[in-house]
Amino acid sequence: MNGPHDMGGMHAFGAINPEPEESEPLFHEPWERKALALTLACGALGQWSIDEARSVRESLDPALYTSSSYYQKWVEALTRQVVEKGLLTSEELETATVRQMPEPGRYRVLNAEAVDKVYSAGGPTSMDIDNAPLFKVGDLVLARNMNPIGHTRIPRYVRGHVGEIVLWHGGHVFADDSARGIRRGEHLYTVQFMARDLWGPEAAAQDSVMVDLWEPYLEAP
């Protein structure tokens, strides 16, 4: 979707003002620790994919999205997801009281003992797919001018531009479908776009931006 999260190339957000690496705390508020841990632990229940989680975050009201800190966005999104998936009800959240316990054994809960094993294993998104890739390294491709209402990972700033395939990653879970709960693969490529093609003559002639794009985002130029 053309949401507030698709920020590449926007102006007016101002300076970065990075905190020095040596003194920046990992968490700036104590609750951020719990926001991270709850988001991961709830994700481990397997009720939604990472793409669904991203989709919920980027569907937040644009004014809320741009005015919230990153972990605030996570909490907003997590609150919506636990209600949408029936883990908590709105009434339980409003009253801070449990109304109904889940059926025993319905959910696979992440135990403390399993945390390191689960996160050290991760969840690869590569998958074997039957069809051969349409493109190969060195090919020029056009990033489609597409504006899907649902989740997508093709940033607005490359749409309609021609780039060159520099890496082919094989089949990967296609984010747009995964965000709708459908796990299927498409060929994934890294595409190099020259900065001047994207941003005009003020960009340095030799500079470029590499973007990972799935095959459905691409066509022959």
Binding site: D6, M7, G8, M10, F13, A15, I16, N17, P18, E19, E21, L26, E29, R33, A35, L36, A37, L38, A41, C42, R54, R57, S69, Y70, V75, T79, L87, L88, A96, V98, P102, V109, L110, N111, A112, D116, Y119, S120, A121, G122, G123, P124, T125, S126, R153, P155, Y157, H169, H172, V173, Q192, L198, W199, A204, D207, S208, V209, M210, D212, L213
Partner: protein, 208 residues
């Protein structure tokens, strides 16, 4: 905004966010959906055990071991796994090498994708709107803000992490470090140099 650890703020009531997170946690724990001890282990893992020292180890090894560098180029995920750095948000790794005329910079314009097994959780600025918006359109301005000035003839490549592939920048080895061991080199490899906003720390001033 800052309800943090300063002593004179101890009497402030918890922020709205703190209360909301507390309420979520209480309900989820009471319903048996979240193991409170698991929350502690997750925080400990990413606060104390998985961080940029892992990536610095990968870089220092690549600087000192040409065979390892070759394996890193051929299959970064496997080469990084040799050092036991694996898992979530690093399942598919690509290493991009800086050189005298090439500078790589990593961003996630759409959210906050970042190679957790080698760098830990991203710093706040990496997830901020200014960095996400500007890195692709004004990389040289962004680099200047970090004090990184490049010659005009250097090529800048920006890697926007739009899939589950994660990028680690291999910074240039600082001059004057010939013969240094991996342990001596690791402190020169800043987190920021592996994101690409800075170069590795100079040998000057570091314990040789």
């Amino acid at each position: 905004m800052a309800h943090d650890h300063h002593g004179d703020e101890m009497t402030e009531p918890p922020s709205e966010m703190a209360l909301r997170v507390q309420a979520l946690e209480s309900l989820l724990v009471e319903k048996g959906l979240v193991d409170p001890k698991a929350l502690d282990v997750i925080v400990d893992r990413y606060e104390n055990r998985v961080g940029p020292r892992n990536g610095a180890h990968v870089v220092a090894r690549a600087w000192t071991d040409p065979d390892y560098l070759e394996r890193l180029r051929a299959d970064a995920t496997a080469a990084i796994a040799e050092l036991d750095y694996t898992g979530r948000q690093g399942e598919h790794m690509v290493v991009v090498e800086n050189g005298p005329k090439l500078h790589n910079l990593v961003v996630c314009t759409l959210c906050s994708c970042y190679p957790w097994p080698v760098l830990g959780l991203p710093p706040a600025w990496y997830k901020s709107s200014p960095y996400r918006s500007r890195a692709v359109i004004d990389p040289r301005g962004v680099l200047a803000e970090f004090g990184t000035m490049l010659d005009e003839d250097v090529e800048v490549k920006v890697w926007d992490s739009t899939s589950e592939v994660r990028f680690l920048v291999l910074p240039e080895r600082p001059e004057g470090t010939e013969g240094w061991t991996i342990e001596q080199l690791i402190p020169l490899v800043s987190r920021n140099s592996m994101i690409g906003v800075e170069k590795a720390r100079p040998a000057t001033g570091a314990a040789a």
